[in-house]
Symmetry: C2
Subunit: 426 residues, 2 copies
Amino acid sequence: MNQQSHTTVTDPVAHIHELGQRARASSAVLSIADTDAKNKALLAMADAIDVQKDALITANKIDMNAANERQISAAMLDRLELTPARIDSMSAGLRAIAAQSDPVGALSATELRPSGLEIARMRVPLGVIGVIYESRPNVTADAAAICLKSGNSVILRGGSEAFNSNQAIAECVRIGLEAGGLPADCVQLVATTNRDAVGALLTARDWVDVIIPRGGKSLVARVSEDARVPVIKHLDGICHVYIDSGADRNKALDVAFNSKTYRYGICGSMETLLVAESETDILIELALRLEAHGVELRGCEQTRKLLPNAVAASVDDWQTEYLGPILSIRVVAGLDEAMQHIAQYGSHHTDAIVTENMRRARQFVRQVDSSSVMVNAATCFADGAEYGLGAEIGISTDKLHVRGPVGALGLTTEKYVVTGDGTIRP
Amino acid sequence: MNQQSHTTVTDPVAHIHELGQRARASSAVLSIADTDAKNKALLAMADAIDVQKDALITANKIDMNAANERQISAAMLDRLELTPARIDSMSAGLRAIAAQSDPVGALSATELRPSGLEIARMRVPLGVIGVIYESRPNVTADAAAICLKSGNSVILRGGSEAFNSNQAIAECVRIGLEAGGLPADCVQLVATTNRDAVGALLTARDWVDVIIPRGGKSLVARVSEDARVPVIKHLDGICHVYIDSGADRNKALDVAFNSKTYRYGICGSMETLLVAESETDILIELALRLEAHGVELRGCEQTRKLLPNAVAASVDDWQTEYLGPILSIRVVAGLDEAMQHIAQYGSHHTDAIVTENMRRARQFVRQVDSSSVMVNAATCFADGAEYGLGAEIGISTDKLHVRGPVGALGLTTEKYVVTGDGTIRP
């Protein structure tokens, strides 16, 4: 791992070009590295993180103190903090990724064509990934691990407020790469907090194959606007739960309550509840639970007849990602109106139906155009670890060509492998 | 199919927005259309093309006459022409696409997670595709069919010189859509040759999910530069054949000769031949055949010692897509030098090795980063029909996330389908 101090970088653009060239060169080695070498590196990274837990917390304290002095928001402080439990889950994520099968080199079934050619597809890495993220230091470990597993070199540009934490995690990554006998340049940290470096990264077509922004809406919007390399991103998580007519009362109460309250700040949190007009009893009981939990309710006209405490919801409410203890509620005639609402106001992230009706469940799954569609499950499950990816490098609401939580497989593509025996085209 | 005359369009930008809105609306229907309806439409299109063969040739004659008057190049005239054989292969392509399995709705294996959730991935269409192409009228049928099969609505902007041919093919497409009971707006032709319409299409983020340019280098470059929607494209096809040491003499001669001479103008045609220094005998014999066929040879110093007629090759030659009867030749020490040359000068399109050595064949396949890698097969096979896709909408040298010939499967993505039983996150 390239460990320059950020004080030594005088030309941020030249710095990015240097990192880019190194990343490209190391990617040629990493793209064909043995599975064993990659897994050895991942397990050694996990061990280093466990062993250096105290050092990580010490480095993080420096960042936390500086952040406290700058009086940043409580939410940001929470994201920045490394607790022993968070460090444990970081190393557990690395071990889960090591345990996964290696996507690189996997061959599809081979088709024999009339020409005599045998045609298959082989999974290959994308090349060099640039990850631009904000305060969460765990992204440093997660992104390094997912890129390594998928055979991609990575350039990491973390938040300036997490600089010391990221450097400490990077040291563990370096130990891991060395243990696996892999080039140190497979994972590089941008060694400056100068913003020109971000601009250079976003336009480094020669060195970077894809950019992944992880952070708030303004970061993602800026990256999307300025990038000249392809971007894998998600913008909003305006997630819906629809309680279908005839839904099981307890499942509906559990799924909707959990979808809203599991953690307000995650992108998979429910922002709008849609309820079939036949199930307003469930709505009334659910509203009591949510209000007792401190959730502000905003509703359509019909909702407000049932829930006198609810504020009137405006069109803005249907298209807002609250990321907080607020819920908008709409009573709908049934499935079609619910799906219309989701199509109009949703953000193609995660949407759930609570139903006992097989036909309507299948219709919802088929028709709702979101990166995750759920049946009788809470939207807050939208998460790479929960999906068995070990960790995720982000949740994509893009369509080309990876959607939902993105793990190692999502950072590979396929090439055709064509085998003949001196075969020519007549 | 929307059949406005191009004389009626007064505002090209408003026209694109109208097509876009219609495409988006029809895509909601098409994305969940039955496989039977789609295949019925495809077969009816094929029948209509067969039945209307004379009408297609008549319409094409109008375009050909106009093109002749404008004295366009012979290569362009050739691309524009619809012959009976080309019309037969157009309808055969549609039937081949109808016979393929429907990618849409296919579910991956389901994984049961510790939380009790069942997680799978479902193939879904991308949405609305914009195809911008030049003179070949068959693209109208191929693109309509591939998009239809993959559940995507499409907006087609063909070359102005093929306007009448495209309209005639579009009429067959319209008959097919009607036979399948599918919305006419699933396939729309841009009804103006005004270039502002292209600009509007490239930036129509609300209506278009991906743009596919098909045509010469300048078209693709312009689209890549101006597009604000994602693009699936290929730029150059600088394809290599490497004759390995110990290669079978006949296979080497056949594969190399066919790769160059099958058709000079296709992107899968060989532009550079790499020969292991132990196999210069093969090179001498091959050179005689190629020269007898009218191919100009340009070589490295070592090549010119063996082939006195060969001109000296410059660095420019290694990075030029001739698309004509010229071949650059380099003698290399062996596999590593050949792969280095391909990495430095290649365009990630299609590269082949001729070898009898299993280890080096595998190394070449694993390590060469091209959309198709071939063993003992001619590079001119790089083609959707030859790969069993029926037709192709282009050959992608992009990486996110579809590479090589792009058929229906390449125009789909996946969403997660998560099923629980009132499952909540603790």
